[in-house]
Subunit: 548 residues, 2 copies
């Protein structure tokens, strides 16, 4: 059993209880478990026409999910794909029906018709006004008069629900329901079968095939069709629907049969509005799971011609969250890209000392390429040296474009260059380091504090702290010591880098995923790069432990 | 490919467009396809703190589905499970950020941290106030400080969203977000892997196993555990969460990772509220898909300690439909069963003529048992005769209990007896026939009209019309002719029954599913039963064609 259930026998009652515990007191059930599973509104006063629907379970959120203000008054739930009993339906009717009477909204399946029908008789024998409508919106089998009731039922719930909520009488509500039923058409399509709880899954639909014209009880579609993509799937559904509707504006209901992802449903919504019926589809309900067939990876499209009165009824707010609303369909609203996406190129400026300093830093990193690669190969993919050297070469090539005379702008410009020339996380982190240092410099900080601000930012963004075996283990002590001069900074960087060889549990970066043995005894290559940089800037050469 | 998509390359842009076309004009996108996929509110005035989130796609409704009043201002969408680019994030920030500034809500994945982080730097360089928080609610790996960000992110969206909507400043919103992040804990569990679009599905989780401690990118959970049922699955999740939370009331968020059915999620909601953490769970968000991992058949539970201010923020109404609301958790409200479920037993009364008539009808049906069974065997399961005979025997046994002196009550009582003693659709239909006849009789109709009212009702409920090869083909003409006496009715019933042998396309009942060849030349057994009844009542014997 690959399902989050406890047993097939307790599935429906437990699911209803789960729904009720978390409905904020809006819903209750009748005290008739396990045979009578009826969910009712707790805020119902019987002065209005009650709407009772239901049927087998496995179609959630139908039907209990649509009980509440503006929709159903009660839902009578059977076991999975099985009609509720006459007694259960009668209990539902009796629980909510006052003088205004009750409309039963029944999908066209024999069991439901009979059990709701007999319950209606029993209620009438007790003097209650009970009307019953049969929803038969499925157009899969055009020449069979006994069309199934599927997701178009939601149109009936919503429009009749809005009328009942507004106080319309039973005849008016029933007539409106009949009118909606006569106008509603639906068709379903699926790429896979559903999994009936406690039963092995039927493997009926081959790869590259789909079923068109599905009911909602796992029965096969009327035909298997080739499946190529979402557009052609929706076009097939649309081709079936088109001949069954008249001209004029329609509301569409795009139903997830259960197992399609929201991504797929959104693509299908796109294709539906772009289909040849698109111009007639003025409003859309969904895409959302409304009348599901357990976990069936499929969709259905329902259409209904819309009058002014229907429009208001469809738009009226309701309490049940499962109703996704009915919204006007339109073009994709597109907003121009904002200014400022293209970084402003700094105005180049000259400063021979700065130029020489940058060149020297770059040369140091280029010179360290083979050693750093070798070190990285102990614990990574051996490219730290090349990544830094490539960036250094690019920076040298960019020197004529850099604002060498303006420290703030130079930091920012270096950040920009690095983000464009240096791949991977380290490129982004160094870009953030220099960009943040530039910001700090712009706000008046001196060079050391600006660099520390850059470090703070990459600690926040990268999530690495000292001791995590990253370049920060050298950079952090070096910047702390830099106020005492370069040699002090170099010594601090070296100590920090060498200490990384004793950190055998990396907590950030790629090394976090490596076993301890592959880390022990080797400096982190990023930290080593920082140490080399500071050491060479002081002219000290490398004092690195010779294990690389 | 078993997915409703067109191509992996166009999946995300098409899904976003589908979402936007059907969002009622509430949402727009930036004009940066395909690289910049940013969804923004169209009703945004930049006077409030903007909330920007995002990340890879495949987590729908996160993140575009939560853009709107009271939650996000913009969502920056990457390809499936891939971080959006720095440029895309920057475009999102620039598009919505005014003087009040912008909070970036980032889940703790390296790519997202870096790209959002660098975009923030670029925006700051342009003078914008940008704060960034990193959500790390996943407790799957308790000793790794780099916990992933998963569904607990929704708490941040909602609480920060409510504050921003109310006009709080950036520092306050960012501090609240940090506080929520420090309190939020989540864990996920799944029975199956997800299907990455365009890739074959990985078959990693064996039957009877589940993965505990999942991220939302299809990566394996931290451990595989035995799966037995929903209760034990939820208890395992709860056992991981319990040590990570303090005392006091919490809000829980029950997230569908994509492929669990609403039934399963409702059972899990039940188990969560009944678990040992239940008493601490004062409010629940969901169950609903909020932070999915494509079609993963799993769930996650997130917890957050709740202050008074949080409570209001969590409950505040929002525009995005995908937010299922935050509702107080309570016991299952149970309402007593209504009176009237147990049918009132009629008061027995005597009438010798009626008793003899009923006995005679029953005897006729009992006598027809073998013939009717044989006839039914041609097109069904051969039990029509036995079904009717069993009901007739039961009715004879009930004669002393029947109100034989009161026609109205007698009809109702017979209906009740038949519904209790006669199985299948025919029992229910005959029960409806007699119950409706009783109602009609109660309203003053004479016997023939009352029986016709019964027939009308079973035509409505059963959906069968004359010509559909059912008992109605004999009953309808018989009742029409009954005003001219029993012999006329018997002739009409016989003609109608015999005509069913020429109806080779049944349109209702079980015979609707049979091939024409198995129907031709045989009377419908229900119609034949009616004809025999009327014929024997007139003393005419059977004139049936001898093919049974």
């Amino acid at each position: 059993m690959k399902q989050f259930i406890n047993s097939r026998e307790t599935l429906v009652t437990e699911a209803i209880d789960g729904t009720l515990r978390t409905a904020g007191g809006r819903l209750a059930r009748l005290d008739g478990y396990p045979h009578i599973k009826v969910v009712v509104r707790t805020d119902w006063d019987r002065s209005k026409v009650a709407l009772v629907s239901g049927g087998g379970s496995g179609h959630e959120p139908s039907h209990a999910g649509f009980v509440g203000q503006g929709m159903l008054t009660a839902a009578v739930c059977g076991e999975v794909f099985a009609s509720p009993s006459v007694d259960a339906v009668l209990a539902g009717i009796l629980a909510v029906t006052g003088k205004a009477g009750c409309l039963l909204i029944v999908k066209n399946y024999t069991g439901d018709r009979l059990n709701f029908g007999l319950a209606a008789e029993r209620a009438r024998a007790q003097g209650l006004k009970v009307a019953m409508v049969i929803v038969d919106d499925d157009i899969a089998l055009p020449d069979l008069p006994q069309a199934r009731g599927v997701a178009g039922t939601l149109f009936v719930h919503k429009i009749a629900g809005a009328m009942a909520e507004q106080g319309a009488d039973l005849d008016s509500v029933a007539q409106a329901a009949e009118r909606v039923i006569s106008g509603a058409v639906s068709i379903g399509m699926s790429l896979d079968t559903c999994t009936i709880p406690g039963s092995p899954k039927e493997d009926r639909i081959a790869d590259g095939m789909a079923e068109l014209g599905l009911g909602i009880h796992g029965e096969p579609g009327i035909e298997q069709v080739r499946f190529t993509n979402a557009k052609e799937a929706m076009d097939m559904a649309v081709e079936r629907l088109a001949p069954t509707i008249g001209p004029g504006p329609h509301v569409a209901l795009l139903n997830n049969l259960g197992g399609a992802t929201p991504l797929e449903m959104a693509v299908l919504a796109d294709e539906l509005t772009l289909s040849r019926l698109g111009p007639q589809i003025r409003w859309l309900v969904g895409p959302a799971p409304m009348m599901t067939s357990l976990d069936m990876q499929g969709f259905s499209v329902s259409l209904l011609p819309v009058t002014k009165a229907d429009e208001a009824a469809l738009m009226a707010p309701v309490a049940p969250w499962a109703w996704p609303g009915c919204l006007p369909v339109g073009d994709v609203p597109v907003v121009a890209l904002p200014d400022g996406l293209t970084p402003i190129q700094p105005i180049p400026s000259k400063n021979d000392a700065t130029r020489a300093f940058v060149e020297r830093c770059c040369a140091i990193l280029i010179g360290a390429e083979p050693d750093l690669n070798a070190l990285d190969a102990k614990s990574g993919d051996g490219d730290t040296g090349s990544t830094l050297a490539t960036a250094a070469r690019a920076l040298i090539g960019a020197l004529d474009r850099l604002p060498l005379a303006d420290e703030t702008q130079l930091y920012r410009a270096i950040g920009l260059e690095l983000s464009q020339t240096m791949g991977g996380s380290s490129g982004v982190l160094l870009a953030i380091f220099f960009a943040a240092a530039g910001d700090a410099s712009a706000s008046g900080m001196d060079a050391i504090d600006a660099l520390k601000a850059g470090l703070d930012r990459i600690r926040q963004v990268g999530g690495a702290e000292p001791g995590d075996r990253t370049m920060i283990d050298a950079l952090h002590p070096a910047l702390d010591a830099l106020g005492q001069g370069l040699p002090a900074a170099a010594r601090a960087a070296r100590d920090g880098a060498d200490a990384t060889a004793r950190i055998t549990r990396a907590r950030a970066g790629r090394a976090a995923y490596l076993a301890e043995a592959s880390l022990a005894g080797h400096n982190d290559p990023g930290a080593e790069a920082v140490a080399r940089l500071f050491e060479h800037l002081t002219g000290a050469g490398t004092t690195q432990r010779q294990d690389a």
